[in-house]
Symmetry: D2
């Protein structure tokens, strides 16, 4: 737009729910912020040409490709954005890195820790910028919590408890969609939801030391549908297939700094559409956050005047709250999509200035290590040390 600003030409692989969220963020970021490069929605990639074409038009992409390899070969693409199902992340990301493209990848980084490590190696060896999309970090309220913690306002952290509660597959007739297929998604609520909680905990509390936990599948068989690509759908056949991913992931953790954590991610918590909640208790204060009212941060300070101590509900929409000043006057709330916009600002600035923004593939690997540790623990019924998996 501004004549002197360099452009960053995006090639995005995938175009469903996350494709929509990423596309919107790239379109909208410069309206609110002033990123140091200007994103251009250059090309979108998918396999079903008719749907793809419509998506490209709807979301404002300049062109499309039906083969991601072609996309990567194109000279007019600077960054590959990967929003495909998890089983294709590694191959695409590694190829993109080898082609010298910057890489922005949806979480979880890959199907396995091993794949994740290979991806990190590829981006590092090829010197490209990399980032993973843990968008919830970028809620102003979470950023405010981070600021308080970094300033020592909570003191030493004792407890973190994180819930990610959903309920969209509770109906036993809900079909075996791709997110329930282990080959495609790697895991169920674990990689989809717990991965977010792990990221929030790593961001706010620090590194995990060890974990023990359970992955559980409550509904063991589900109807098979012709097209299992959608997020929703209902059984069209009477064929049932085995559900190989978890419906719920529950674990406890010790952190390197001595904090203790409890984690629960599930798709079987009726009444919770997207209940991503976190609470942290430290020596000097506590915070509470719930994605369903994401603009609010609840904060407690131990050194508040006696008799007047209590959790404050802070509507993090003021100019002095992280990212919030770019939007609307205080009290005029933002929503889910703005976490993507905030994150993309960091990505664009990272590319412009040549540093890897956070969270990046290293975070992806560390996150994958925690996920894998819980999986191992669920099988062996033992505590698993994260460091052992990261060696």
């Amino acid at each position: 737009m501004a004549d002197v600003k360099k452009e960053l030409r995006i090639g995005m692989v995938g175009y469903k729910f996350m494709g929509k969220a990423h596309s919107h963020a790239f379109r909208d970021v410069s309206f609110y912020f002033d990123p140091k490069v200007e994103p251009v929605l250059q090309a979108i990639c998918g396999r079903q040409e008719e749907d793809l074409k419509q998506a490209a038009e709807k979301m404002g992409w300049n062109s499309y490709e039906t083969d991601w390899r072609k996309l990567i070969e194109r000279d007019d693409i600077d960054l590959i954005d990967i929003v495909t199902p998890n089983n294709s992340h590694a191959e695409i990301a590694i190829a993109a890195a080898k082609a010298g493209k910057h890489v922005f990848c949806e979480k979880p980084l890959a199907l396995t820790l091993e794949q994740s490590k290979e991806m990190l190696k590829a981006v590092q060896e090829n010197g490209v910028i990399h980032m993973i999309n843990h968008n919830y970090r970028f809620s102003p309220a979470i950023q405010m919590a981070k600021k308080l913690i970094d300033e020592g306002r909570l003191g030493k952290i004792y407890h973190v408890r994180a819930l990610y509660l959903q309920d969209w597959i509770m109906d036993p007739q809900f079909p075996l969609v791709w997110r329930l297929n282990k080959d495609i998604s790697g895991s169920g609520s674990h990689g989809d939801l717990a991965a977010h909680s792990i990221d929030l905990a790593r961001f706010l509390v620090g590194e995990f030391e060890e974990v023990t936990g359970i992955l559980e599948t409550f509904i063991k068989e589900r109807p098979i549908v012709e097209s299992s690509s959608g997020l929703s759908g209902s059984a069209s056949t009477d064929k049932f297939g085995k559900v190989e991913v978890d419906d719920a992931s529950v674990f406890i953790a010790r952190f390197e700094n001595g904090a203790i954590g409890t984690f629960e991610a599930t798709r079987f918590a009726g009444g919770n559409r997207n209940g991503n909640r976190i609470e942290i208790n430290g020596e000097k204060g506590s915070i509470r956050w719930d994605m369903e009212n994401m603009n609010n941060l609840e904060v407690y300070f131990h050194d508040d005047e006696p008799g007047l101590q209590g959790f404050r509900t802070i509507n993090c929409t003021e100019e002095l709250h992280p990212y919030a000043g770019a939007y609307w006057p205080a009290g005029h709330i933002i929503g889910y999509e703005h976490t993507f916009i905030n994150l993309v600002t960091e990505l664009l600035n990272g590319v412009a200035e040549g540093y890897n923004p956070l969270p990046n593939f290293e975070d992806g690997v560390r996150n994958a290590a925690v996920l894998e540790a819980v999986e191992q623990s669920s099988q062996t019924k033992q505590w698993v040390r994260i460091a052992d998996l990261l060696e």
Copy 2:
């Protein structure tokens, strides 16, 4: 974008807070919805060329004008969007209507009821489409409340209580900005905030019959600043000027259908950044809503099973909630700006199909009548009938 879709070329007068909100809505609407005409950000208009140029570029307008009369003369403009201070609404809107342009106008419609009536007359006589921007109606939760009420789920309405609580000018050193200047804004919290509550009440409950109330100015003098155009700022001089608008507006009302209402709009309610709340109690149920958690509608049904009766907190983010399906999966909340996007969809469809969407200038007039009745009442200390002002 789509080759067969007709375009609607917007000319917007004003470019501050509301200009930003409108611009964004026009830019973003087709990403989420499929309006029957495609908006084009054709030209933006303001008086300070340097600021205007930057705003045009930042917000994506194709061109700019520094004289709104020129804008109206342009052949390549189909609709005039008025986001200037209230004292210029009437003149611009009437000129636009006479020039055959459709008109979209910020609330309150004008400085006075008289002006508002003239505006309505102008758009009607010239046969152009008109709409007023009461965006809060377009929160999915409010739309859901409307649906319930229309279906008779609350029965006969007994009570409505509406609060619009802000706190941004509580500091006596906060300067005499344009919103505190009666010549420019017409009123203070009354036209700015109470107008919104009146609209919600008219939308959900029905027409006002009579009102009695108070307009109050708590801080009688404030520092004068050189440039009083901004929303914020601090005193740069030691000159003080008289505040001629209200800091708070408080009134009670009877509705034509027998309901009773209480209304309070204030900029002196510390801790409430944008506390736009409404509660309605009917024969069969009740609803509660608060803009600061705007995705939630609280609903009570009298015929719920005894012992299990209580307000339900409904996160209106599901596909079957009005407008919500265009955005994200359930539980992934939207924010303030989406109320504008939803409204603009209706505006575009109205233009495309040749009908006046709601709320339009007739609503603006009726709203102005209630505002004026309260002002009269505040002076005469009498009840004032709305019908008497509308004759």
Copy 3:
């Protein structure tokens, strides 16, 4: 109990809902507090001997009388506690005062302001201790709010908004019980509920200057039942009688100190079983309280650190919260009945030390003046000055 502590022998007239609440408070007060006289449940009085006898036994009264005049004549009674319907308060209180008994009376003080003044005159002329039962003042959270206001922590008060929302008579088949009979109760929601809000406002904000408002009866006729003495019941006949009291009371007020108030009391707010709420906004801070979560006080301080401003939820159950130290450790909440216990402590200490505790009959008169002013206003549609009624 303790041999050196003087006893205060109570004679209570009435034995229904309020009789239960008062009896319990007298029984329980010395368990938690150390009042300077020890209450003795000496005699209870009512007209239906069989019921009365059972009540006396159940609630632990030493004796009973079926004629309140006899009760007042008894030498072994020091204080008359009046918990009868409102139409008998004046006669009993005046007679008790003349007999030299201290008087504790349920609110509202009487049917009319005139009667209330006579009661005040009687207790003053006879030099007896008097108190009126506005129990909600004695919630620790309200007392804490009072403390903050008295210390200037909220600064000058701008706004008070008080709601008292109930829903127990919304069913049109709900019968014409005594509380709906004007001769017995004087008014409906007005004297029953608004009287409480007026007391909270007088306690926390100060004296009323003028009011304008509405008393409304939504259901004009109701079934007549044989025994209309109970709080509940359903129609046993097909005879209907006219409802002469208000279902709802809505008014706005100016206070002597410049604050503005909005008040709404209703029995037609579905889903609100006992929604007694108050919010106050001052120059430096705000408070919010809701009886349904009565242990919590929400407090906002304008001078909290920028970016960390928000309402704090203070669970007023700590030792340093008023009255709370007498009960349980922090976080272990108390309930409705404890407001009576706290109040009774003050009554007993007042009697012991010879001063009139607050709120007393003077408060009752001032409260009645506000009630009557609203009633007048409802008829004349004019603002009514409280001082004019108090002359």
Copy 4:
């Protein structure tokens, strides 16, 4: 009181916080309920005569003993109520049972599972009535939840998550009181707080199958005080002693019916004075409860009308809510102490009719087994099966 009602003469050992709560319940129960025996506060027992005497007088006990053995020997005592520190429960309870007294015991039942089993054996062999004081079960909201679950309204249970968060010993200068002494209390937050959560889970969900968890002590040394008997106090010396009990207890569990649970009890969750919370998600619905607003039960039903689904906040104060009808009209909340009153009603009726009310010593043993399993797991870092400990 009533001449025909049999009395139950209580002898209570201990007189601090729990002694106060029990005493009050026995005093107050017949005011609200109609238990089938009438409790008599016959004798209280403690070691410090002066304090004891004052407590007896304050709380209304007829007599006192300074040796619990003497108390048990007395012919005029029917039931022994044990509210001493945990290390004396077993000896007193067993002696009482052998003496043919009914036994009511504070939780946790004893220091160890072994002791708990001996206590159960003693009461069973001697045919006395026994009950353990898990009072939180007796919140009307929890009872309502139980009713819904028993009726199948939540369907198969998938998840339970229970938190018991306190913050009273976060100050490192808080001294080594008896509750922090392993010899006296057995454990810290584990037996004090987690025991309550385990009871709620057993009551609402069912029996535990296996657990894995952590007991953690954040502050390893604390000041030693002369008198370490109180709940509070501050260091009076510069001598420090080792803290041998846990500050926090965190574990996950599998239940026999397939549900998965997460549990966290801690005294290090700043801002949570008594945050006893539980959430349960089942096939058809969910519930949420928080002791700090204990009158409310939040309930979600999956089969509510689409678009109108959400958690309902039910104020469990109506006549048709368990126990609530004995107190006040709907919306007039009760508090912590009423959970004791409700429980004591069951105890008295159990004694009167010769059955063991729930929860009794068998519940105490099962609870102790879970506590012990977590302790073992914390040391061995293995999952521990409850059945193995109960053999």
